[in-house]
């Protein structure tokens, strides 16, 4: 790791510095303690804003612009070498901060990968090719003869998602399909006999996959070093900074409901009507109607209720009361009770699962017979209007909300719903169903307080 002193010494190297570092190893730099924290905070602002942008459903070109702006706002420094140092140092500091639990690692990996992806896309083709070489990717470009034989299929793929048709000059790489999972998943490549034909402008996917895989392993190693030596060695200097950094910007995960926030079985019905966000209301209503929910719905609603303060015994009673009407008490105990206890960390791995954030809810796609996911994303306009009407949203508010939905700003739509239903503003915006619930309860309870 880096050696740190109180005086600033920067690496004097004004030769051409690569603008997009790969963070392969911690550089031998010396950094002021103040910068240690300040650089990390600035980078964290960038990562958090990226996280926000993703959960608001921003499209790729919007994200590209966002990343450019964010980087310029928070990470720019007058001298290029200084800027690169800040880039590298802040990354490695945040590795220390975010290596310590699986959830933190997952978040950091996701955001750093996204950041890298859009910064890579912003580079020139030559710079991209150079970076590709740095990754030591063993892929061969497709030669003319082979290109001719697959040209029709390549054109078909390009047309299928609105890309310009490949010409004789377009470079394609033949890559094992395992190395480009995102392109395979979105059907943006032609695959034949296990090989994917990746266009130059898709190369970003290859590189990002490598970046992600490398960083993922590095984080595990960092965690090991942290727990075995660094945490103790630095307990008077870096450790307190590191420990504060992770909690201050990620926002609460609602896995531990506050003491005062217990709810009992009989409250649920009223709470569903007054304070549940639409996604949970819908699940709750369907559960009452069908006396059943499929796995995705049970997870989403079950964990939400846990976050709201429903204790395990009450949760079991709640689900049993509904399910036994459909499948009988015996089958409930055999097939479903285990999973509920599992969600509360009483079985198996004993992991205490956290309620889903909006980002997670939005990204899950319901299938046949499912009712989970984000209704703002999946309901037809007609059904959405009906559901919002039942929540008490008036006509004028309705049109605003539908407009946001059509522009794919699902969380903003939910925020507007919240505001319409409660008659007050929600400046922070809705990021988590449990946040919706807590904020709603706050407003309702303050209305109940007698005023002098």
């Amino acid at each position: 790791m880096q050696s740190l002193r109180t005086r600033r010494v920067y690496q004097q190297d004004d030769a051409a510095v690569p603008t997009l570092p790969l963070y392969r190893s911690a550089p031998p730099l010396e950094v002021r303690l103040e910068d240690f924290e300040a650089f990390a905070v600035d980078r964290l602002r960038v990562l958090k804003a990226i996280s926000d942008g993703l959960s608001r459903g921003k499209k790729p070109d919007e994200m590209k612009k966002l990343v450019t702006e964010l980087w310029r706002t928070h990470m720019r420094l007058p001298k290029p070498s200084e800027a690169v140092n800040k880039d590298v140092i802040s990354h490695f500091v945040l590795r220390l901060v975010y290596c310590r639990t699986e959830d933190l690692r997952k978040w950091f990996l996701s955001m750093e990968t996204t950041l890298f992806r859009y910064r890579f896309k912003n580079e020139s083709p030559e710079a991209q090719r150079a970076l590709m070489a740095d990754f030591n990717l063993p892929y061969k470009a497709v030669n003319t003869a082979e290109f001719e034989s697959v040209k029709d299929k390549l054109s078909q793929v390009a047309r299928s998602f609105g890309q310009p048709l490949p010409t004789a000059d377009t470079i394609f790489y033949k890559v094992p399909f395992e190395d480009v999972p995102e392109l395979v998943a979105s059907r943006r490549v032609y695959i034949h006999q296990g090989n994917a034909y990746v266009a130059m402008n898709q190369v970003v996917s290859l590189v990002v996959t490598q970046f992600r895989s490398f960083l993922s392993k590095a984080l595990i190693l960092t965690n090991r070093k942290w727990t075995s030596s660094i945490k103790e060695q630095e307990k008077d200097r870096l450790t307190p900074i590191v420990e504060v950094l992770s909690t201050s910007y990620l926002g609460p995960d609602y896995s531990q409901p506050r003491e005062s926030a217990e709810i009992s079985l009989k409250d649920i019905d009223n709470l569903a009507r007054s304070s549940f966000p639409l996604c949970m209301r819908h699940l709750y209503e369907k559960l009452k109607e069908d006396h059943h929910l499929k796995h995705g719905g049970r997870m989403q609603l079950g964990l939400f209720l846990k976050g709201v303060g429903l204790k395990l015994d009450d949760a079991l009673a709640f689900w049993r009361a509904e399910f036994s009407q459909k499948v009988g008490a015996e089958r409930f105990e055999k097939e479903y009770a285990y999973n509920i206890r599992h969600n509360y960390g009483r079985e198996g791995k004993r992991v205490d699962y956290t309620p889903f954030s909006c980002q997670k809810v939005i990204s899950s796609t319901p299938g046949v017979g499912d009712h989970h996911g984000c209704p703002f994303r999946h309901f037809s306009e007609e059904n959405l209007r009906a559901a919002l009407g039942r929540m008490g949203v008036g006509n004028r508010g309705m049109d605003d909300i539908i407009d946001k939905v059509q522009n794919r700003h699902y969380q903003v739509a939910c925020t507007l719903t919240f505001e319409a239903v409660h008659g007050s503003t929600c400046d922070a915006g809705i990021n988590h169903p449990n946040q919706y619930f807590i904020d709603s309860q706050k407003i309702l309870q303050s209305k109940n307080q007698p005023t002098m």
């Binding site: 699986e102 078909q156 299928s160 999972p181 395979v184 599992h342 198996g348 299938g367 009712h371 209704p375």
Partner: protein
């Protein structure tokens, strides 16, 4: 940790009143008396192909080659569901004899196969969750599960656990589409399709490359196959964007789906025969005035002399010519709508969760389904149109066959006297033998290259 067994947690849905238009099809379910622990004991004693399952699970690591990994088989998880729903996970065995004895002794109602772990599952508690010495899956076949209840919104002959020969072809189509893609697009060769015993099919892709796929790569393949999204709250479940289809979808459409829809589904499901049914189709048309025009045509009473062609065929032709007509080509998404309708009714619907995680358990081939008594037999993808789930051998049938043929010591003969003999022979010749040969080749070359490496690294 696997939380949902695809078979166990599927709900039985209410059965609609059947339309009396078609003659009653032979159904799959038989009397539950045809399944019990005694029958099962005899089945595991005399019919279940223990040695073949063992050879398969060894993937060539049978100890006969110096390059074999002697721990490989013992790191595989099996799980048994016993009578009265007792569930045993993380069972593992070190030999064929151990596996066979355990099955015969415990007589499981269901045998599931899990992944190969980093260490013997019996020792898992000694290992940590994270870090170097983890207990984690390291190999697992790429698997797919197609269940006909996922098609309930597009089949009208049956619903829930029922199937018949009118809706079973949906499974045939799923096999054809997926199998072709697995071989041609992904380059896999060792693929086993198995009847799930009641209402679906399972697929096991056993190439080394497939077994070593990560969760992310499995999810990518599952997403490559996914077309159907949404549920009763969204209007359109299939959304095919883009001016042309990806070659995989286009091939599936022209080679399989379109003919299947126009030749079979239209008629056997009477898709356009009643108002309730054709409204569902009209809902999928993006332009209300076009839908209204068709509705108007179809609400007219049929002319007496127009009865030569089936009404579904007539109406489908009307729909197609309107949606494809030149004067309407400015309406976005109209032409594509014909394909979307066909995809909605025919394109395979996979259970994504089954394929995405290495630790997902799946029922072993040659198990007997407790509710139907039918054996989970392999299906030949090249001949899948001929597969008839209503004629799959049942437990009681097999035992009757055994009884009638008298007792003989030779196991192979016994198998051949039953109708399962053919299924086992197919399993061996079309799947197991080619797989084992390729495993041996892989083992050899890996071993040789290791030898070479160690030779090269000798230095003085």
């Amino acid at each position: 940790m696997n939380r949902e067994e695809a078979d166990n947690c599927r709900e039985d849905m209410e059965i609609d009143g059947n339309e009396p238009e078609m003659p009653a099809q032979r159904h799959v379910d038989i009397m539950p008396d045809g399944f019990n622990a005694n029958y099962l004991k005899a089945y595991y004693g005399k019919v279940f192909p223990h040695p073949d399952i063992f050879k398969w699970m060894c993937y060539g690591h049978d100890g006969k080659h110096p390059g074999c990994d002697p721990t490989y088989f013992s790191r595989r998880e099996f799980s048994f569901t016993l009578d009265n729903d007792i569930y045993l996970r993380f069972q593992s065995y070190t030999s064929a004899y151990e596996l066979e004895s355990s099955i015969k002794e415990k007589c499981p109602f269901k045998i599931d196969i899990g992944p190969v772990y980093s260490v013997n599952p019996a020792k898992r508690h000694a290992y940590a969750q994270t870090g170097d010495n983890v207990f984690t899956p390291v190999e697992r076949e790429l698997i797919f599960d197609v269940d006909i209840t996922d098609y309930d919104d597009v089949r009208f002959c049956c619903s829930g656990a029922d199937i018949c020969l009118d809706c079973w072809p949906l499974m045939t189509v799923a096999i054809k589409v997926i199998d072709t893609a697995l071989r041609d697009d992904f380059g896999f060769n060792h693929i086993l399709w198995v009847y799930s015993g009641r209402r679906g099919v399972h697929c096991w892709v056993c190439d080394g490359k497939a077994r070593r796929l990560s969760n992310e790569q499995r999810a990518a393949i599952a997403d490559y196959f996914r077309v159907y999204k949404g549920n009763e709250n969204s209007n359109k479940k299939v959304s095919l964007v883009g001016p042309v289809l990806h070659p995989f979808l286009a091939r599936s459409y022209t080679d399989v789906l379109r003919d299947f829809f126009e030749g079979k589904v239209l008629l056997s499901q009477n898709i356009l025969s009643t108002e309730e049914k054709y409204e569902k189709i009209l809902e999928m048309i993006p332009d209300e005035s076009v839908a209204a025009e068709l509705r108007g045509k179809w609400q007219e009473k049929r002319k007496a002399n127009g009865l030569k062609d089936d009404i579904n065929v007539v109406r489908w032709e009307q729909l197609k010519s309107l949606l494809y007509s030149g004067k309407l080509k400015h309406i976005q998404g109209l032409r594509r709508c014909v394909e979307e309708i066909i995809f909605s009714f025919t394109y395979p619907r996979l259970d994504m969760e089954v394929s995405k995680h290495m630790n997902h358990l799946l029922k072993a081939p040659f198990c007997v389904h407790p509710k139907t008594g039918r054996v989970c037999v392999p299906i030949d993808p090249n001949d899948c149109e001929k597969f008839d789930p209503t004629t799959v051998p049942t437990l009681s049938q097999l035992l009757q066959e055994l009884n009638m043929s008298g007792s003989r010591a030779d196991i192979d003969d016994e198998l051949d006297r039953t109708s399962l003999g053919r299924a086992v022979r197919y399993f061996r010749s079309s799947f197991l033998q080619p797989l084992l040969k390729s495993c041996k080749d892989e083992l050899e070359s890996a071993y040789n290259s290791r030898l070479q490496q160690s030779k090269n690294s000798l230095s003085w």
